[in-house]
């Protein structure tokens, strides 16, 4: 019905209608908050998992590759719904903010208070700068293709530098056991994880050794390329998931 309205005949809701529409906004926002805290956090914990859980998993090869690649999924899907239907450029920021809330709750209550790990050992990474840029690129371009290519790339490329101020200090060298370690490695050695032996860490493993010590940019650009594809895939998943075709049959 509303699609047939012209700008001449369009009237903004006022009075009771406006109040109900606003109440509906808040209802959806609160539900979305809990939904994304739960679902995106679960998705992230099951896929990124240990790379985000532990400070001694945050390496320069796999961490900047895996985290943005998984981190762009829900933002892309929610952007597809929020932008296509409402022109709201906040899907990515909303999702990642919910993820941050969920991870912090889990790290403080599950890892620290329940399992006694110091919080600094299990501090989550942040994707908020990446999400902000992804939202504004979609808003400015109004294009799936441009957002996938430039937004997806920016999402991945910004990840490592935006987290280095948080985790760089954990990479200071120490001498322990007649070998050189980082402070992060020392956390893994000292704070006993019965089910997480050192060899399980998937870090610094790869065959591309030609470029020596510049592994991080290579991983970041690889992630950027993959994020463009992942973004597009999850944009369509978002569209498919937000369909109302079944409601119309009721």
């Amino acid at each position: 019905m509303s699609s047939k309205l012209s700008t001449q005949t369009f009237h903004h809701y006022i009075g009771e209608k406006a109040r109900i529409a606003r109440a509906y906004d808040y209802l959806v926002l609160v539900l979305a908050l809990f939904l994304f805290i739960g679902s995106f956090h679960l998705h992230f914990a099951l896929t990124v998992g240990d790379w985000d859980f532990w400070v001694d998993w945050k390496d320069r090869q796999w961490w900047p590759l895996v985290t943005p690649l998984i981190g762009i999924t829900f933002p892309a899907a929610v952007q597809a719904v929020m932008w296509s239907n409402f022109r709201l450029p906040l899907g990515a920021t909303l999702c990642v903010a919910c993820l941050s809330i969920g991870t912090w709750i889990a790290r403080v209550f599950a890892y620290h208070y329940w399992n006694f790990f110091p919080i600094n050992m299990v501090m989550p990474s942040t994707l908020l700068p990446s999400a902000l840029v992804l939202d504004v690129i979609l808003m400015m371009s109004n294009s799936l293709t441009i957002t996938a290519i430039f937004g997806g790339s920016a999402f991945a490329l910004l990840f490592y530098p935006s987290n280095w101020p948080i985790f760089g200090m954990f990479h200071l060298p120490i001498e322990a056991g007649n070998s050189q370690l980082t402070i992060a490695d020392m956390f893994g050695f000292q704070y006993i994880r019965t089910g997480m032996p050192e060899y399980l860490r998937i870090i610094e493993r790869g065959t591309l050794r030609t470029y020596g010590q510049i592994a991080t940019p290579l991983s970041a650009f690889c992630s950027a390329l993959l994020c463009t594809l992942m973004y597009t895939l999850w944009w369509h998943i978002g569209h498919w998931f937000a369909t109302t075709r079944y409601l119309k049959k009721i």
């Binding site: 809701y13 919080i119 760089g168």
Partner: protein
């Protein structure tokens, strides 16, 4: 009148019926609550601390023929927060390593704790410190030392164990530790190569919270910028009415441009600042430690042993081993102990100095020999030993006969007249006897 009376009667009956139904519902609810209370009480009555770490769950042939622990000791089992405690011991890596278990190319000497109630400050293998995983050699002998420091007060059951890559955890003998004191007193300072002292409990936490808060503030501002105005229904109607241009204002676009430029600039500025602040930062270390075995402690060439046959008598819960033993020492020796899969079967006829203070699973009077006389120097003798005890069943080692790899492995301890000990390993296929 009749109609009125009927109506009253109906009303009265309905009220009676409703109160009756209500009473039945209340009774049903009370019954359900009573039932739940019984379940809860039964649960609470059986409430007890967890004492196992899955040590019986691993297949018997893995427990018997991978890491063979002995002489495991704690320096003390009662200490306070911040006190250090040392765990020492030895292990032999079985020569007859099961084919279905990957070779121990990456193994991690660990301690089973319910979270970091202790921290591990030092760890040694054959006297050499090591921080990472290590490759072990089948047939090799090793001794280990782990230094731990009390962190959280409580009573904990702790085992040394090996994480074996792609195989699982092989537990050593456990012990109860009592940690006293106040957790607030715990300190853990380490020194960086540059000489900076770092408190591991809080290091980087304030900085991390600051950066998370900083970006969260910007993100919240961006979300509030949009949430403050009518959202879903209003915007959907406007979009469908072709009023898309009104949904994004020029000010929105200015802010978006500022974010598009400002956020990456801030990110790279902060990144550069951090790189300059920590120019000595290095990548995470991911090496595998290489430590050679000790010179032979087990099968050292003094007492040679060959397993001729092994039978497991199911009704008697007894393992019968036919062993051909050659004593190349210059003193008579006696077989004092057979250890496998975490159980120690002791020959009570032999005086054994105890090198363990863990709560090993011990069958004290369970080892018997068909010929208990000492084996003389240079003598070669075939003897039949019987290790019989219900522990085969309670420790779930009798499942060996149902394993895909029904072979036994273990250590045999001999003692000479002066208390000198000789250790040999055995291995053999096991034949079950059901009657």
């Amino acid at each position: 009148m009749t109609t009125i009376n009927n109506h009253k009667l109906t009303k009265m009956l309905t009220q009676i019926n409703q109160s009756f139904v209500k009473e039945i519902q209340q009774q049903e609810i009370l019954k359900s609550l009573f039932f739940l209370a019984i379940i809860f009480l039964a649960y609470m009555a059986t409430f007890q601390p967890v004492m196992a770490h899955g040590e019986k769950n691993l297949e018997p042939y893995v427990r018997m023929r991978t890491i063979q622990w002995y002489d495991v000791q704690w320096s003390t089992q009662k200490f306070n927060v911040n006190d250090e405690v040392t765990l020492t011991g030895k292990f032999h890596v079985a020569e007859d390593w099961p084919i279905s278990v990957p070779k121990p190319d990456a193994s991690f000497l660990n301690v089973s704790t319910p979270g970091p109630v202790l921290i591990r400050t030092e760890r040694y293998l054959n006297g050499k410190p090591f921080m990472n995983s290590v490759a072990l050699q089948p047939g090799g002998d090793y001794d280990f030392k782990i230094v731990l420091k009390g962190r959280l007060p409580g009573r904990y059951h702790i085992h040394p164990f090996f994480n074996l890559r792609d195989a699982g955890q092989v537990m050593g003998p456990g012990a109860w530790l009592d940690i006293g004191g106040d957790e607030a007193d715990f300190t853990n300072n380490i020194q960086t190569i540059n000489g900076e002292i770092v408190d591991m409990e809080t290091y980087g936490l304030g900085n991390g919270i600051f950066w998370h808060s900083f970006w969260a503030l910007l993100a919240t501002a961006w979300l509030l910028w949009w949430v403050r105005r009518p959202l879903f229904i209003a915007r959907y109607r406007m979009l469908k009415a072709g009023m898309e241009d009104e949904l994004i204002t020029p000010l929105d676009k200015h802010i978006a441009k500022a974010i598009l430029v400002g956020v990456p600039v801030l990110v790279f500025a902060f990144y550069t600042m951090t790189v300059n602040q920590y120019p000595k930062a290095i990548p995470l270390q991911a090496s595998l430690d290489q430590i050679l075995p000790l010179s032979a402690k087990v099968n050292a060439g003094v007492v040679d042993i060959e397993t001729l046959r092994a039978e497991y008598r199911v009704p008697e819960r007894a393992m019968k081993l036919s062993l051909n033993i050659k004593n190349s020492s210059d003193k008579p020796i006696q077989l004092g102990e057979f250890a496998t899969g975490g159980i120690r079967f002791i020959n009570k006829a032999v005086s054994i100095p105890d090198h363990n203070n863990t709560e090993s699973v011990i069958a004290t009077e369970s080892l018997s020999l068909d010929n208990p006389t000492p084996i003389q120097p240079g003598e070669q003798r075939t003897i039949l030993i019987t290790a019989g005890d219900g522990l085969w069943e309670s420790e779930k080692l009798d499942g060996l006969i149902n394993d895909a790899d029904s072979r036994i492995g273990g250590l045999v301890f001999f003692y000479d007249s002066e208390g000198e000990r000789y250790v040999s390993s055995i291995t053999s296929a096991v034949i079950p006897k059901f009657n």
